[in-house]
Homo-oligomer: 220 residues x 2
């Protein structure tokens, strides 16, 4: 776990660095905004601790700059200023937490522990069959990069087939996926939807097994 401390007050910085090292963090220290920016750009940071009262650059300005870089590094702001507006604008500039001097090392460490247990959210579930990419959430399907919108029924059929590529589904089985109990249908709806699906996704994807049903052709 690598921490960068940007702080110009040497004695405070020394104490903080020591406390952090003792707690097991790898710590870099920069005394000016410029230097800090170099460290930030260079390194694999896990957490940034930033003093707002720097000699060369306004801390808030620096913070916004660093945020532009789009890294997701959590930032904890550290400052003597106790004014409410500073806190608020610091947080709104992209800081994740705020600590006013003087502070206890214990509390700093606790807040860093909070910041470091950040978890990254899971990605969108997507399904890929051959050259067809299915986005479950948006009901969108990409065929060789081209986006196609599917209707609800079309999507339901494709999804059923895609659940088990290579397995044949009878019309009755597919209808069961589409209609709730009591909603039965007495026409060739499934065929029509399959037809429309093929129009959108090409004629090789969904194959028909005569007398049996439909199958998602994974191979060939």
């Amino acid at each position: 776990m690598r921490v960068l401390l940007i702080e110009d007050d040497i004695s405070l910085a020394d104490g903080t660095v020591k406390a952090l090292r003792r707690a097991g963090y790898a710590v870099d220290h920069a005394a000016t905004g410029k230097e800090g920016r170099r460290y930030f750009e260079a390194g694999q940071l896990d957490i940034l601790i930033l003093d707002l009262g720097l000699p060369d650059i306004d801390g808030l300005v620096l913070l916004r700059e660093l945020r532009q870089l789009q890294t997701g590094v959590p930032v904890l702001i550290l400052t003597a200023r106790d004014a409410l507006t500073d806190k608020v604008s610091g947080l709104d500039a992209g800081a994740d937490d705020y600590l006013t001097k003087p502070f206890a090392f214990e509390e700093l460490l606790a807040r860093i522990r909070v910041l470091s247990r950040r978890n990254t959210p899971a990605r969108e579930p997507e399904l890929k069959i051959g050259n067809v990419l299915i986005n479950i959430a948006s009901h969108e399907v990409q065929l060789d990069g081209e986006v196609q919108k599917l209707s609800r029924r079309e999507f339901a059929i494709l999804r059923a087939l895609a659940d088990r590529p290579g397995q044949v589904f009878s019309r009755e089985q597919l209808e069961e996926k589409l209609y709730s109990w009591g909603d039965e249908v007495t026409s060739n709806t499934v065929d029509v939807h399959v037809h429309n699906l093929r129009k959108k996704l090409g004629h090789t994807l969904i194959k028909n097994i005569r007398g049996v049903g439909f199958i998602l052709g994974s191979t060939e």
Copy 2:
């Protein structure tokens, strides 16, 4: 954005609830730990604000219990106790932030804004989708550089969608972000607000996925 406040001091709770609602949050309020736990288990929470000095359950104990549930809901602890050990153990028990009474509503709102960024992929205070720039803090939205004034509800919907661009939100999900418990709505409000949003921000930004819901479309 849905917030649960667990706080037994009625007058403080009232003021806080009002301030939060005015800021566009859907707020539920519980006066006891037990009640709070029920709300917590029931709902689609985005943020929990928890007072440590509850009459029936020790706040820290409750916090640990709720953490067991493994929901990723950010927790902000609120308390009169100013002792360092309390802060530290609060944070280590799974809180994400800490505010000591008395506090300014402004700061509470700022910290909530930070927490609400937490579970979203883009943690920038400003979000850009196509030619639309969204500033969460100031409730300001720009279309091609031109500032558009959004109403509270419009902004709440846009923010919910913007939290996860590319994810579809059903009308029910959006309503949950807008209304507190007991405030439910039985009309097409969401549609109307979406319509007004599109009038202000153009018709390509918010896409509808028929039968599913709405989605913030970045491309096309």
